[in-house]
Symmetry: C2
Subunit: 280 residues, 2 copies
């Protein structure tokens, strides 16, 4: 089996490592537009060869589109346009509705499997790729019923090799859920970083006191703009809805603190504490 990976960043690069080492792919080809990233990917040895898009499509049995979500929608369609009956295309985007809509009526829709391996770090680029990134994490299969059973089975095996736990849902449900348990976390981290960095202009030593709690809350603010701009705009409606609820909760906290309303603060904190039962 030859796997071709378009986009050798954190996700594409990490898939390349494990699919090869664990024997799912005998050969891994990579496509990378950024010449610095391409050189790094070859030097690090993420793939057997960095090739042109043409060659990747021509020689791969499975083509993984692992570029930011804005570019992915166009690229998946373009790849589907150019393949024969025997190949499978997958995407790994963090938003699913847009890409599933764009491919819904494509004559080769059955050969496309839309997935979201829910793993990552706040780092990006081929340097961020790592072994075992996906182990034990969830992988979403969006609108799986639109893929052919054969293509679906093959991609389930691919993610099985990465030790991922499959979850099946429709694309719109996926986008609501990820807005709540992933996208909003990034926005709140960005806002926190902006808040403290603004204060740092007056108070140079403010970060001397930064604790482990602060670091963990602000960690995601290191995340990359090229990745997050298309996610936030493609999932705009869900993200705005979560942000509105979130801002309401902040306002409720603000009011309770402002009014020295200790019972009100206690009510909010103890309700929030229910997260203990869910997140270990």
């Amino acid at each position: 089996m030859t796997v071709g990976i378009i986009g050798l960043g954190l996700i594409g690069g990490s898939m390349a490592i494990d699919l090869k080492r664990r024997g799912f792919a005998q050969r891994v080809l990579g496509v990378e537009n950024d010449s610095l990233h391409a050189s790094a990917a070859e030097k690090i040895g993420l793939v057997d060869e960095v090739v042109s898009l043409e060659k990747c499509i021509g020689e791969s049995d499975i083509i993984v589109v692992a570029v930011p979500v804005g570019a992915a929608v166009r690229l998946v369609t373009a790849v589907l346009d150019r393949i024969g009956d025997d190949k499978i295309v997958i995407d790994v985007c963090s938003t699913k509705e847009h890409i599933c809509q764009a491919t819904k009526y494509h004559p080769r829709r059955g050969q496309f499997v839309s997935t979201h391996p829910m793993a990552g770090t706040e780092y990006s680029g081929p340097w961020a790729a790592m072994e075992g990134l996906f182990d034990g994490r969830a992988c979403i299969f969006a609108n799986a019923e639109e893929s052919s059973p054969k293509a679906l089975r093959t991609i389930e095996e691919l993610y099985g090799c990465l030790n991922m736990r499959p979850i099946y849902m429709n694309a719109s449900q996926h986008d609501v859920h990820t807005a709540y348990v992933s996208h909003i976390s990034h926005v709140t981290s960005f806002a926190l970083a902006l808040t403290v960095l603004e204060k740092e202009k007056d108070e140079k030593h403010i970060f001397d006191l930064a604790s482990g709690g602060f670091s963990s809350t602000v960690r995601l603010a290191k995340s990359n703009a090229d990745m997050w701009i298309p996610i936030l705009t493609q999932n705009r409606e869900n993200v705005l809805q979560v942000m509105d609820t979130y801002i309401e909760k902040m306002q409720a906290f603000r009011k309770a603190i402002d009014e020295f309303d200790e019972d009100g603060i206690r009510g909010l904190i103890e309700e929030a504490n229910r997260i203990k039962k869910i997140i270990r």
Copy 2:
């Protein structure tokens, strides 16, 4: 040296462990109002003996007040009222201005050292106490010039034994800084937990998709109300100011996403990315 610790929670309990094991204290006495916590502290062996407040004050050379900040202000004053010339009292509160104001004109002010060991986890109670909690972290000495040089030196040695890095600042500066790099992180985590828990009422499986990023952002929402109510109310003015800046940043993000303003989103994310240089 006998050290008496009033309040055997995460901070008091962890101090008890290391001060005894590392030989700073030959004997550690504990005072604990909550009878379940008292039994647990004895059973776990955090202290040599759980005793009455009277006995603790009578037999300890250093008395550590490690109760939530609301009770700490009254308790520090009460302990100072009852000690002779040879004893030292410290507090470990997360807000400093209130306690420093309340003790400023106390005749035994020189025997009081106001500190904030900046370490912790989202867990509380004697069960949360752990060895090495303070190693390598910062300890604030607030208004250190109001303590006698002898008392200050002794407490610097105590924190030296805990491998803490001393930072000296005035109480009001401390309260501004911690509002930015600690208190706001807790409020944003509480608000995030509330937002997602509210959605969970309709979407039962929403947490199936929770990633490592979400967990790290929401972790502090497990924090205890008894600890955080007095911190947020005592540091009300600073906390409200940070919250207002934070809500402004969220609104700016919301507006940029709402308007599909990709340049605006990029500007905000790339500004937030500056946090990389500060938080490793």
